[in-house]
């Protein structure tokens, strides 16, 4: 296990370097000069532009820029954006809401996805199974932003059950609807994954043995079927944390939440290259860390993987 852990950790380093380099290149090698655009229609004097370029290391070769940026990532000092705000502060402001939103969405998809998936998988081919499959396909087929609008109109405006938008410093109640919308697609995947896994395990020999021994139905389901079926589902849920956080860019826009998504979109539109790179780097780090955690969890659960 220790050997596996070490090897897996070593593999993360080139992936992190490669992914950040790619992102950095995407943002900084793009056409257009963000410094020249700062002055608007009239433009800034050449000397001021030179000074700003020197301040943000934009006058140095690309590779040096990237290495300086990496040093910032390691020392947790991302520098300041074009408006003079510390980017570390921007990140600290944006992430708590998004983390809360992502965790709530994760709870939604885990509870409902596993619950419905279990019932559907145990009666494969039944009416509940059929309707659950169709509903899950609809959730996958309808884009997140459409689900968001429909929920806003129906639940928020017509029924008035939940607040329509979250705004600044949202509380638990106002994040409920955004979390449901964010969870919608993943919920469908969790449902389908649980269903397939449960249905497969229901016909396994050990389940038949457990039944033959006279165990009660609930015991067979809880102790044998569910536990064995959850391994792939847990894997999916773990990897989904990272996906949910970057997927929040749409949901946060619809519900007017000031999280990572909103800040990032704003920064992209304004051409705040440093902010864009810093935020996406943190997102990629979360994504890599979540995947690493899942791999380790998986190796702990299933010995076949450790020795492969």
């Amino acid at each position: 296990m220790l050997w596996y852990l070490g090897r897996r950790l070593l593999q993360v380093i080139p992936v992190f370097l490669g992914a950040t380099l790619l992102l950095y290149a995407m943002v900084f090698l793009r056409p257009g000069d963000p410094v020249a655009a700062l002055g608007g229609e009239r433009g800034l004097p050449e000397a001021v532009q030179e000074q700003i370029r020197a301040e943000y290391n934009l006058d140095k070769p690309f590779v040096i820029q990237y290495l300086l940026f990496l040093r910032g990532v390691v020392t947790l000092d991302f520098g300041v954006d074009f408006r003079g705000r510390e980017i570390t502060d921007v990140i600290a402001n944006a992430f708590p809401v998004t983390i809360q939103l992502a965790l709530m969405a994760l709870a939604f998809e885990a509870i409902f996805g596993i619950g419905f998936g279990l019932v559907a998988g145990m009666r494969k081919g039944g009416i509940f199974d059929g309707s659950a499959l169709v509903v899950s396909l609809i959730f996958i087929a309808v884009p997140t932003f459409v689900v968001g609008f429909v929920m806003q109109i129906v639940v928020g405006v017509r029924l008035g059950w939940l607040p329509v938008s979250a705004g600044r410093d949202p509380d638990f109640i106002s994040l409920l609807m955004p979390a449901m919308v964010l969870a919608a697609v993943s919920f469908a995947y969790v449902l389908r994954l649980t269903r397939t896994s449960v249905a497969e395990n229901m016909s396994a020999d050990y389940v038949r043995t457990a039944r033959a021994r006279g165990l009660r139905r609930s015991e067979v389901t809880g102790r044998h079927v569910l536990r064995n079926s959850l391994i792939p589902v847990v894997t999916f849920l773990g990897a989904d944390i990272g996906a949910l956080m970057s997927g929040a860019i749409i949901t946060e826009g619809i519900f007017n939440i000031n999280g990572v998504g909103g800040t990032l979109y704003d920064a992209i539109i304004r051409g705040e290259s440093v902010t864009v790179v810093s935020l996406t780097t943190v997102l990629v780090l979360v994504y890599i860390a979540a995947n690493l955690l899942v791999d380790l969890l998986y190796a702990a659960l299933d010995p076949r993987i450790r020795y492969a």
């Binding site: 593999q11 080139p14 992936v15 992190f16 490669g18 992914a19 790619l22 992102l23 995407m26 943002v27 793009r30 056409p31 257009g32 081919g125 499959l133 396909l137 609809i138 996958i140 087929a141 309808v142 884009p143 997140t144 932003f145 459409v146 609008f149 429909v150 806003q152 109109i153 405006v157 397939t196 497969e200 016909s203 990272g242 996906a243 970057s246 997927g247 860019i249 749409i250 826009g253 979109y265 992209i268 539109i269 864009v276 996406t280 997102l283 990629v284 994504y287 890599i288 995947n291």
Partner: protein, 326 residues
């Protein structure tokens, strides 16, 4: 006493063989090889694809999804067959007007006929989806197959590159690139989506190729003197195709959704291109007063994605013997 003599084709009578040395000579078969083939054709089909076809044919889900796909492709290819109006000719006086004769869905905020725009919007989604999926299948299969089949440092390098691209979420990367792309066409959108969307197919292909390449028929082909590249192309890839095809149908749906998301954010297809994502985005402005405008392009989008997703489900069930066993 039994007659042990037999006649040979020449007609001459040979001496009776001694006991223990009797030989049986089969009569010449006048039926030819056709009789042998005929027996085989009556047997149950044995190839994976024939089996799958038999399995799919009996499911209503297959026929529904096939009908949706055919309809959507037809609408995308020949929108003129379904409407005689021009989606770009709009009259502001009609803005937000309800359904009337000749305009079954009513008018949007700009006074354009919603039915016509929904029909013409199909093309953008289908073109982006098909283009992106084609690119992803070619790129992902090539990278995955080379990594899995040639192994060693090919595998090490290609797998790390796959990991790097996998670590960047698709929509995030697409937003960063598309926000600075000035030349926004169906092709550029598909290209950007494919550039960051190929990793899953590469991983799937690598996995299947790894398991297929150790089969006896590969060893047989090699011992018969077949070249490595030829074996990969003729034997390994065709036998790895099933999971790739299943994933491709699902990916097509996902790319269509991703394109709509980009167009919705205003960084996908330009407003001059009629697209469902763009129309949903436009309908957003009137969401409180006339929410039904949003439902038509969204419905077209959902129906299209649903068709491809259901087809993927059916094909997967048919190709997976484990799922077939009841």
């Amino acid at each position: 006493m039994p007659d042990n003599r037999y006649e040979n084709p020449g007609g001459s009578v040979t001496p009776t063989p001694r006991p223990g040395q009797e030989r049986y000579v089969a009569p010449i078969d006048e039926g030819g090889l056709g009789a042998v083939d005929a027996v085989k054709a009556d047997d149950a089909p044995t190839s994976l694809w024939r089996d799958a076809w038999h399995q799919m044919r009996g499911r209503w889900l297959f026929w529904i999804s096939a009908a949706i796909i055919v309809l959507v492709v037809l609408v995308a290819a020949f929108p003129g067959l379904f409407t005689s109006l021009n989606p770009r000719v709009c009259n502001l006086a009609d803005a937000l007007g309800g359904p009337q004769a000749g305009h079954p869905f009513g008018f949007d905020r700009q006074g354009c006929d919603i039915y016509t725009r929904t029909i013409f919007g199909a093309r953008a989604s289908v073109v982006v989806g098909v283009l992106a999926t084609t690119m992803v299948v070619v790129l992902g299969t090539a990278i995955g197959a080379v990594a899995g089949y040639y192994g060693k440092w090919f595998d090490t390098i290609l797998s790390r590159i796959t990991d790097i691209f996998f670590a960047i979420p698709l929509v995030l990367a697409a937003i960063v690139i598309m926000s600075v792309t000035t030349n926004r066409t169906s092709f550029t959108v598909a290209f950007v989506l494919a550039l960051f969307g190929w990793t899953q197919i590469a991983r799937i292909t690598r996995g299947t190729v790894l398991s297929v390449k150790n089969n006896e028929f590969v060893t047989a082909a090699r011992s018969l003197g077949m070249g490595r590249g030829q074996i990969l192309w003729k034997h390994v890839l065709p036998n790895s195709a099933a999971p790739i095809i299943v994933y491709a149908t699902v990916a097509l749906g996902q790319f269509i959704v991703a394109e709509a998301t980009l167009s919705f954010l205003g960084i996908g297809l330009p407003p001059s291109t009629v697209s469902w994502g763009g129309d949903i985005s436009a309908a957003q402005g009137a969401i409180r007063t006339a929410p039904e405008i949003l439902l038509y392009p969204a419905g077209g989008l959902a129906l299209t994605v649903l068709g491809f997703m259901m087809m993927g489900d059916v094909v997967r069930d048919a190709l997976d013997p484990k799922a077939r066993k009841r």
